[in-house]
């Protein structure tokens, strides 16, 4: 059988693959790194077991079996007592080895779980509440000082080297918060708050995606975690805490009027304006974000125009209302929203 080639193939794909932004095996922080180490120890140990079992299996097909006489099985259907006792020793030994290996794996697994749990108890943590919605993420930076509490959506910035506590909640159905480069999953369950600690030890953009089936657009519920050095994070935070910039060009002033005079305001908030809806992503700094519609598409003017005109074709079934924006209003509206850096 050609299975010997499979581990080699698997390895080359695992190491050489181009997509690393949402991979459990490309850790960007200590939690994911510990799981990655545990994975490879499991992989090698279980891989060796697989090869041994397959070797034995293949050997049963050949005539050559160690120290076995060819017995007249067609008549008696029984192996000789010597063969039986010898085989019994081997099978017993294999069972004992299996138990020992499993014991080692349990200890390694529980030890890793404990080590990951210990990573949470550090000083100076940042607390972020992530709320799942059909089909987007609300991100709220918790701060004792209400003026420092920030609400945004679908994109989370965190400082490198600082532990972050994720408090998970849900507005509607069960979702699951998962940024594989940083940590495993944690479900977001309505009526409960779940808890997970993440930390990035190198700057980068890590993609995450909802991992619990949550309905029609489960496939289009992604978020970005942007890990930045402390000073850049602070600058980002300061900027995000500001209300939205007032429109400065004629085009964007018109765009703001279009936004405020339409049904947009019932669901979306833009701080600094009269738009105060709470049912949909906060758009105060929409222009600074990477994606549209929970990162279904990149945030470009073209995509945004398409999204506003017909949200149902890009992400069928999503809860954004289709609003009749006439063609002369569309361009100003897009310009305005993209100006909200």
């Amino acid at each position: 059988m050609k299975r010997a080639a499979v581990p080699a193939f698997a390895l080359s794909v695992l190491y050489g693959c181009a997509w690393h932004q949402q991979s459990a095996l490309n850790p960007g922080g200590p939690q994911a790194a510990k799981i990655d180490t545990l994975w490879w120890s499991f992989f090698w140990l279980l891989g060796v077991i697989f090869i041994i079992v397959m070797t034995v299996l293949l050997l049963t097909l050949t005539g050559r079996r160690a120290n076995m006489e060819r017995e007249a099985l067609e008549v008696t259907h029984k192996a000789s007592p010597q063969t039986e006792s010898q085989t019994r020793r081997i099978v017993t030994g294999a069972t004992i080895i299996t138990i020992l290996i499993l014991f080692v794996l349990i200890v390694a697994s529980v030890g890793t779980g404990k080590a990951i749990a210990d990573l949470g108890f550090k000083k100076n943590p940042l607390t972020i509440q992530v709320t799942g919605n059909q089909w987007w993420w609300e991100i709220q930076y918790i701060n004792g000082d209400a003026s420092q509490t920030l609400v945004t959506a679908n994109e989370m910035h965190i400082p490198v080297g600082r532990p972050v506590q994720i408090l998970g909640q849900s507005q509607d159905v069960i979702h699951s918060f998962w940024v594989p480069n940083l940590h495993g999953k944690r479900d977001l369950i309505p009526s409960r708050t779940t808890n997970e600690w993440i930390e990035a030890d190198q700057p980068g953009a890590y993609r995450g995606q909802c991992a619990e089936f949550c309905g029609l657009q489960h496939a289009h519920m992604a978020l970005w975690v942007i890990a930045e050095p402390e000073d850049r994070f602070d600058a980002w935070m300061r900027a995000q805490l500001q209300p939205a910039a007032s429109p400065s060009t004629q085009e964007t002033i018109r765009g703001q009027q279009v936004f405020l005079n339409n049904a947009c305001v019932f669901c979306h908030q833009i701080r600094g304006t009269t738009a105060g809806g709470q049912n949909a992503p906060d758009l105060t700094h929409f222009g600074s974000r990477r994606g549209i519609a929970a990162n279904t598409v990149p945030n470009t003017k073209g995509n945004l125009a398409g999204w506003i005109v017909d949200p149902q074709s890009m992400k069928p079934g999503n809860h954004m209302a289709t609003i009749a924006v006439n063609s002369t209003d569309l361009q100003p509206l897009v310009d305005y929203l993209e100006s909200l850096k």
């Binding site: 693959c17 997509w19 949402q22 991979s23 259907h77 099978v91 069960i174 999953k185």
Partner: protein
């Protein structure tokens, strides 16, 4: 009447007695007669054929999904259609194919292997089949009237609740579960009763074939697991139909409670499917390696332990909900224990093959394929038992790969082995070995091409149950390979059907025991007559057909002018008394219709529970009405 039995007894008026047996076991005629069959061969075959059609249906659904996922941002299926199809695929494969198929095989084989004439409760058996069939029709009526369920085969609330899934889709799903529960409990009851009380004299528990052991364990598991899913689906149904708030978090209900109850059933469900498959493996290994099983006692104990442990590890489906560390450690350990009991069985099969003289038939090919695939699935199961690793791979394609390795490798490959092994018994003709081998290799290659890359894909971040994915994620090439693999599996399926059709028509005549196998089903004609054995056999050994002919024995003195068999004691199978099977009857069918009116109607109006109960009560009066015929005498 020719002597069709290997236990050829010399009885003076044999021909006359056999003629009497023929008459008393004859099926009633006509359409109504056909609906009244109660012999285990007929019911078993109906289960097998219906479940096989469900396998093809579920397979077609899988091909639709694979076609959609073949490339990024594909528009072949809309998201709602995709969600319906993956839900129906999972539901069909678990509830309408795998479990009923294993039950059908058991209904056909257990009475033969135990050396008796029918299952203990033939009318209940017929009723169970009709309930299963009506469950199938009920779900697919929904599917074809655009009311297919779309919340996953697990239907987690609150997504499956009335607020987020209005309409009747989820109700169809939940009520279909009720149909299959009833059917599964009927089968479990009669299999246990048949095994405990109707084994051939001399077949003490420690002489039972391992396949019979596996069915005994599976049936007990059904009895303990099904009530949990009754609770889960009842929570959901009553929340949806009469606004109880068991699992609705908005009103203080607990959605996690649903998950616990569902998986308390859901995990054993997997073993309910694959423990009988392990029984197939043991039977085929023994017959085709031509030696007694190595480590019979260890095998039996390992299977029993499997059955127990299966109920202690449901939480490993819920590691991502967040548990205290001590709970995580417990469920990691209990999940890994399954590897010990499965390991023991694999070692024993390897030892049997190693010290035996394997004859590389198609059936044994499938067993070798099983061993390769199942070992991979078992090892990835160890990965999933580890909480930190599970956090990463849970609900990704890694898990999809794992359970297809375990279920296709662990249940479907042995099942195909079983088809090739027992086809001669069931039809009287051999299947073609050349096409059989091609069939095996196509399935084996197609399977690995489809499911092996999914391990990598899951580690690379692709979640399950997404109808599409962006091209930038780079999952496209692996998905494309998998889709090709899925179509190769489809070709394997067509080869199998072609082989069945041509062999059924013109295969070589099999004779009683073409494999020179050891167990009692090979001691009679192929296909067996309705009464199975002219004279019930006596088991003088664990391998009754491998003892010298002169030492074989049989039972005489049963009445042949009515459907009679021997009841034996539980432990040692000593003859206890004669037992009369009820005659064929239309009432199981009528009762099933009455119950179906209640079940199906209650989805639309709770009052149908009342009407259905009244009708079922009336039908049961008919079922049990004394008729003054031979059955009343006893």
């Amino acid at each position: 009447m020719t002597a069709t039995q290997d236990f050829t007894p010399q009885i003076p008026n044999q021909a006359e007695e056999v003629e009497q047996l023929h008459r008393s076991w004859r099926h009633p005629r006509g359409v109504l007669g056909w609906l009244s069959y109660t012999t285990h061969q007929a019911i078993g075959t109906r289960y097998i054929i219906t479940a096989f059609i469900m396998l093809l249906t579920g397979g077609a659904e899988a091909l639709l999904m694979r076609t959609q996922l073949a490339r990024p941002n594909n528009g072949f299926l809309s998201p709602d259609r995709y969600n319906e199809i993956f839900t129906t695929h999972g539901t069909t494969m678990m509830f309408l194919f795998a479990v009923p198929m294993m039950e059908g095989m058991a209904i056909y084989l257990v009475p033969l292997m135990c050396g008796t004439r029918n299952v203990a409760f033939p009318r209940l058996n017929a009723f169970g089949y009709w309930m299963f069939l009506f469950g199938v029709l009920f779900l697919y009526w929904g599917v074809f009237t655009n009311a297919a369920p779309d919340v996953g085969w697990f239907a987690y609330p609150p997504l499956s609740g009335p607020q987020f899934t209005p309409g009747k889709r989820t109700d169809y799903w939940a009520q279909m579960i009720t149909f299959t529960e009833v059917s599964a409990l009927c089968v479990a009851t009669e299999i246990i009763a048949t095994i405990f009380k109707m084994r051939a004299p001399g077949m003490s528990l420690n002489r039972m074939p391992l396949y019979v052991w596996s069915l005994l364990i599976q049936s007990f598991m059904v009895i303990f697991a099904m009530p949990a899913v009754v609770i889960a689906s009842s929570y959901l149904l009553s929340d949806r139909t009469v606004a109880t708030q068991f699992v609705n978090p908005a009103e203080g209900g607990d959605p996690i409670l649903y998950q616990h109850v569902f998986w308390f059933f859901g995990h054993p469900e997997v073993y309910i499917i694959f423990i009988p498959a392990l029984g197939f493996v043991s039977a085929i290994v023994v017959a085709h390696a031509r030696r007694e099983i190595f480590g019979y006692t260890a095998m039996v104990l390992a299977q029993i332990a499997n059955g127990f442990i299966a109920f202690g590890l449901w939480v490993h489906h819920m590691f991502a909900t967040g548990l205290p560390q001590i709970g995580e450690a417990y469920f990691t350990a209990s999940s890994m224990m399954i590897a010990i009991t499965s390991g023991v069985q694999i070692f024993c099969w390897l030892a049997t093959l190693w010290t035996g003289r394997p004859r590389l038939t198609t059936a044994l090919h499938f067993i070798y394929g099983f061993l390769v695939i199942f070992v991979v699935g078992g090892l990835t199961g160890v990965v999933l038992a580890s909480v930190p690793l599970d956090w990463q791979v849970h609900d990704t394609y890694f898990v999809v790969a794992h359970f297809h390795y375990v279920l296709i490798g662990g249940a479907l490959f042995p099942l195909f082995g079983a088809f090739y092994h027992w086809f001669p018994k069931i039809t009287g003709r051999m299947m073609d070995e050349k096409i059989g081998r091609l069939n095996f290799w196509v399935l084996f290659i197609g399977f690995n091409l489809t499911f092996f890359p999914m391990h990598i894909q899951g580690l690379m971040g692709m979640p399950r149950r997404v109808y599409t994915y962006p091209a930038e994620m780079g999952w496209g090439p692996l998905n494309f390979i998998e889709t090709i693999g899925a179509y190769i599996i489809g070709i394997g399926g067509i080869l199998f059907i072609a082989n069945v059709v041509s062999s059924h028509r013109s295969g070589r005549i099999a004779g009683n025991n073409p494999w020179d196998a050891d167990s009692l089903e090979w001691a009679t004609a192929s296909p067996p007559e309705n009464y199975n054995f002219e004279y019930l056999p006596v088991a003088t050994s664990r391998y009754p057909l491998w003892v010298d002919r002169s030492e074989r024995a049989f039972v005489t003195g049963l009445r042949n002018d009515r459907r009679e068999a021997l009841v034996t004691t539980l432990m040692d199978a000593e003859p206890h008394h004669r037992y009369v099977f009820p005659a064929s009857s239309i009432w199981p069918f009528i009762t099933a219709i009455a119950v179906t009116i209640g079940f199906a109607g209650s989805v639309f109006n709770p009052w149908y529970i009342v009407w259905g109960s009244v009708l079922s009560g009336l039908a049961l009066v008919g079922w049990f009405w004394p008729r003054g015929d031979s059955e009343a005498e006893s």
